[in-house]
Symmetry: C2
Subunit: 432 residues, 2 copies
Amino acid sequence: MSLKDRAPEAKAASIQLGAASARTKDTALAAIADALSAAKDRIIHANQADLDAAARDNLAAPLLKRLKFQADKIKEAVDGIRSVIALTDPVGVTMRAMELDAGLELFKVSCPIGVIGIVFESRPDALVQISSLCLKSGNAVMMKGGSEAAHTNRVLADIIDQAAVEAGIPKGWLTLLEARSDVAEMLSMDKFIDLIIPRGSNAFVRYIMDNTHIPVLGHADGICHVYIDRLADLDMAVGICVDSKCQYVAVCNAAETILVHKAIAEKILPKLKVALESKGVEIRGCDATRAIIDVNPATEADWGTEYLDLIVSVKIVDSLDAAISHINTHGSRHTDAIVTEDKGRGFRFMDYVDSADVFQNCSTRFADGFRFGLGAEVGISTNKIHARGPVGLEGLMIYKWRIVGNGHLVADYAGPHAKAFTHRTLDKKFRN
Amino acid sequence: MSLKDRAPEAKAASIQLGAASARTKDTALAAIADALSAAKDRIIHANQADLDAAARDNLAAPLLKRLKFQADKIKEAVDGIRSVIALTDPVGVTMRAMELDAGLELFKVSCPIGVIGIVFESRPDALVQISSLCLKSGNAVMMKGGSEAAHTNRVLADIIDQAAVEAGIPKGWLTLLEARSDVAEMLSMDKFIDLIIPRGSNAFVRYIMDNTHIPVLGHADGICHVYIDRLADLDMAVGICVDSKCQYVAVCNAAETILVHKAIAEKILPKLKVALESKGVEIRGCDATRAIIDVNPATEADWGTEYLDLIVSVKIVDSLDAAISHINTHGSRHTDAIVTEDKGRGFRFMDYVDSADVFQNCSTRFADGFRFGLGAEVGISTNKIHARGPVGLEGLMIYKWRIVGNGHLVADYAGPHAKAFTHRTLDKKFRN
C-alpha cells in the first residue's frame, strides 16, 4: 500500500483513537509491553541482522552503539512503556470553563493533535518510546526510521501495532515507512500529518525543518553557554563549567562556550584551565583569555560551533549585558546558565536571555524531561511556539472549544436590544 | 533602511520589550490611545487620500468599506486599546513550580514569543488592534499592510510608534513595511520573525501559509456545518441554521453546509426552506433533499465551498457517524454544530468532529474571541498546535524554564551513588 493510501488511513484512525478511553489505551500499552518482552529473541535476532550489515558497511562506532537494541535495551524500552502507563491520561482535561450566558456554557478541553510524523535515524528505542507516547496521548503515528535499522524497526513496529490493534486500538494508528522516497513524500503531506518530530543529528533535523510546511517540534543545534559573573563563587563556577562541558559531551545540553566577566577572569581562568584540562578538554580562548592562560586561540567561528566533543571556547566579556548579548547573538536558544551570588543579576540574565532554559547556579545538563519531572520526554524544542525546552506529553496535545447551548442565537446578542454575555468563570469540568 | 537591517533591530527590541514591566507597557498603551485621539484629523485626512485613490481605481464596495477609517472607527480603535490596558499582564506568570532537589527549583514562566510578523490586507483597524496586543504581550511587531491603505497605515504606525517610544518602549519595537517586495523577504526571515499572523481573504492567507517556514497563526477557510440530528428540536434547528447562515454571511464562522439526518428530513426540510428563503438564501440540495423540497442541485464541489454569501448546501445523511465523517472530510476544522436533544449524541459529535470549535444546540457564529470572553482576539486559528479556535493574548505567549540552584551538578545524579530527585510540586511563584 502506498503512502498516499496510508496517510488518510492514519488520519481516520487518529479520529477514533482520539476518542478512546484511558482504560483502552493503557490496556493496549500493557499488551505492547508484554508482547515486546515475549518477542525478545525475535527482536534480538532482527537487530543482529542490522548490526552484521552495519559492521560489513563499516558504520562508525557511535552509530553502531545507537543501533544496538539487545536484551538490556529491550528491558529499558519495556520499563519505559510501563512508566507511560502510569501517567495520567492527558486527553479530556477541562482547561477552562465559562458561562457565556444562562444555559450557554463554554469548555476548553484537551485533545490529541492528530497524526504525528516521526523521522528518526538509527536508534530503535526512539520507535518504541515515541509510539507509546503517541498512543497514550491518543495520536496516530507515521514513522520513518534509518535504513541501517530496517530489520529491527520492522519487527518492533509489527509487534507494537499488532498488540495494540488486538487490544482494541483502531487499525492504521501506526504506520512504518520504509522506502527512502517516503520521507520527502511524508514531509509534503500537511493535509494528513499535523506535527513532525525528528530525532537525529543536527544536519538531519535541519534538513527536516527546511523541507516541510508541517510544524516541526525539535532542535537543530545546542550551543549552550555558562556565564561566570563577577559575583560568582569561584569553586561553584568551576564545578558547573566542568559538569556542563564534560558530564556527557555528545548531547545538546552540554556547554560549548564559557563567558567570563573581566573582573573575575584573572582569578578564575587558571583554576578553570586546570579543572578542564584534567578532564582532557581542549580550551580555545579569545585574545584576552590567552593573555591570562596559555590556550589555543578561538576564531569567530568557534562562537557558533556545537563541538559535541571535549572542546570548549572561552571568552572574556565586559559586563553581564555583554554576556547576554553574546548568547542571544551566537546561541541556539537552547540552555544557558549564569553563575552568580547576586540574585538580581541572576534575574536579569533569566529575563534577557532568549532561550528555552535559563538557569542560575546549576549545570546546563539539567535541561532534560526526566530531570524536570515531566514523566516522559517527547523531545527538546527550541521552537518559540507550542512547546519549548524539554517537552513532555503536553507537546502532543492541543484542545477543542466545546459549547453546549439550548438554541442560542448570535442575533440575540447584536443590535439595539442586544442581550449581554455573563462571561462567568465556572468551577466545572466537561464530562461525557 | 532595508528590511535586512530592520529585522535584527526588531529582534533586539523584542528582548528589551520582553522584560518591560506591566506599568511601562500600560503607560505606553495609554499614550498611544491619547495620541491617536489627538491626531484624529490627521488620520482622517490620510485615510481620505486612500479612499480617493481607491475610488479612482474602482475598488469594489466591500474593500472600500474595510478601507474606511474615519471618526467612528478611530474611536472604536481607541476604545479597543483601553480594553487591552485593562487586561492582566500575560508576562511573568508562573505556570508550574517544582523542587527538583533541595535548593534546586524549577519554574515554568510565561514570556513573549519575540517578533510577530503581521501581514494584512486593507483594514487599518487591524494595524491598531494587533500592534497594541503585541505591545501588551511584550512582543515586537513587523507589519505589512495593503497598498490601498498606505497613507492611513503610515500615519497610524508613526503615531503609535512615536507615542510608545516616548513612553519608554525600545526603539525598533514596531516596523511598518511598505514595499511589495518586503512581503516575500519577510516570509523568509525565520531567523528574526517567530510567528506570522495574516489577516485577509482565504487566498491571501493560503498564499502566506504556502510561502514561509515561519509558523503561521490563522485560518484559510471557514467551511462550517450545522448537523440536524434525528433527535433535534425542529424549531431550534431551523433557528440555529438561519442564524449560522444569515446573521453575518461574509465571515469565517458562518455555516456553509447543513447536514440533515434522514429520519427527520421530511419533517424539517420544508420548514427550513421557508425560513432560509425568506432571508433570501439560495439552497443547493443533494438528490435526496431535492426529492423532498424543490431547490437547486448541489454538486460535489459544493461540499468544499465557502460561499461567504446567501447560499447554503444541504445534504441528507444516514446517521450521526455519516455526518461526522462528512464534516471531517469536507470541513476546514473551524466550527461545526449539532442540533440534538440527546446529550450522548451531542458528546459523540464533539468527540469525533476534528474541529477547533464543536457546539451543541447553538449557532456556529458564537466562535469568536469576544463572545468567548477572551478579552481580546488575536485571530481564529485552525492550527493543530499552539493555539486553536478563537485566540486571545495567550496566542502571543510562550514560556521559559527557569532553574535556580546552588551549584548543583548532574554528575551527582548519575552513576552508582546517584542522588534522587524529589520532584515535589511547589505552591510558589517565580518573582523578580
